[in-house]
Symmetry: C2
Subunit: 210 residues, 2 copies
Amino acid sequence: MSRKRLTREESREQTRTRLMDAAVAVIVKKGLSGTSVEDIAGHAGYTRGAFYSNFKSKADLFIELLKRDHGHVQEDLQQLLDADLSNEALQMQLAQFYGQCYRDHNSYVLWAEARLHAVRDTKFRQRMNTLCLEKRDMIASFITLFDQRMGLQPSSTPPTDLALAMMALIDGMLYFNMSMPNEMSDEATGSVLSTIFTATFFGLQAKQTK
Amino acid sequence: MSRKRLTREESREQTRTRLMDAAVAVIVKKGLSGTSVEDIAGHAGYTRGAFYSNFKSKADLFIELLKRDHGHVQEDLQQLLDADLSNEALQMQLAQFYGQCYRDHNSYVLWAEARLHAVRDTKFRQRMNTLCLEKRDMIASFITLFDQRMGLQPSSTPPTDLALAMMALIDGMLYFNMSMPNEMSDEATGSVLSTIFTATFFGLQAKQTK
DNA sequence: GTATCTAAATACATAGTTGTATTTGAATTC
DNA sequence: GAATTCAAATACAACTATGTATTTAGATAC
């Protein structure tokens, strides 16, 4: 099994990626501020030298992590939106989307850290808000599309506001699902979300049978 | 203006309280893990000696902070529940409750820190869950009471689950309201919450006019 | 193959943090 | 008012973190 010999650029890119992946793991485990640059480099199998050669600072790296994750989510959502699916397929896919949402532990923690940091740091908050609003607008597009498809007259509450509410709700439920799975099982989480979504968008309480 | 001479016990109590208040301020500003014991003591006008004489560790203090805040909220809610108010008064009070909810910056940050810490530390998570579930049950009582009062047949979703959802929603909206007040004003926040509450509990989309 | 470049390692200077052990001085007790 | 007690200050020793400055060794260019 021949290990491919890497070009300088490839090697650098590999280092960068490894550092970022290690950073996620360590930050999720010990917290952003509880994680030292040494921790990250060490966990990736490098020394601090490698870190500072690739990133300006821990803060700089953290932004990169968020952007990377955000990019993935946005791509996924955009694909769904572009796919021009049937109503049924769309509903299925959306269900799956928030289904997988509350399974990704690492992302949850990363963004929870980010929110806290945003509360404290104005500059960071602005960058963060840009990302959040991009996601919000994506979700708002879904709401609008859905309203059109279903022939519902749009709610008096703007879809952008509803989108933020859904983000808030999913996020918070994800936490409960993670921290007290006995009280809030995966099924219960899905069921609650679906109840509230349905009530909010169709205006009728879902009479779903367990 | 004679400054009252304090007994030893009073003085100790004062120190303790000052340390706790200082801790909230500093932790909100710099984060739990970014805050040193020295920071806290210093901000309260003492040295580390005073801190360690009053608390076992920073973790110990943090739990105290959460318990104190939790106690206040529970008291307020219990009073509301005991008051046996008319429907109108109850609705008013509840509106006021979540109205004031998203005005308390410090508490938000404290609990956000706590959630992150809970994800990482099993023992802490258990203590934290106890508090969360107490609050959940309190809110579930409100939901049940409300259903009875309004003569609604209770939702197929258990009130405890709905209670967690409402906590999740309020919390998340509070964040957006704090971090992007231009996108999510106080009024918009109230409006969205009220839309979703109404839809969820009455099963009808609120047609509220701005 | 020699010279050059640069990613990553290493060395260093500085500074902050923790918890305990000891001391101090003001409140209490007799 | 002398003795005692204890809240808080101070001193201490071990450890961890940061960022920069310098070195090293493997890729690239000639």
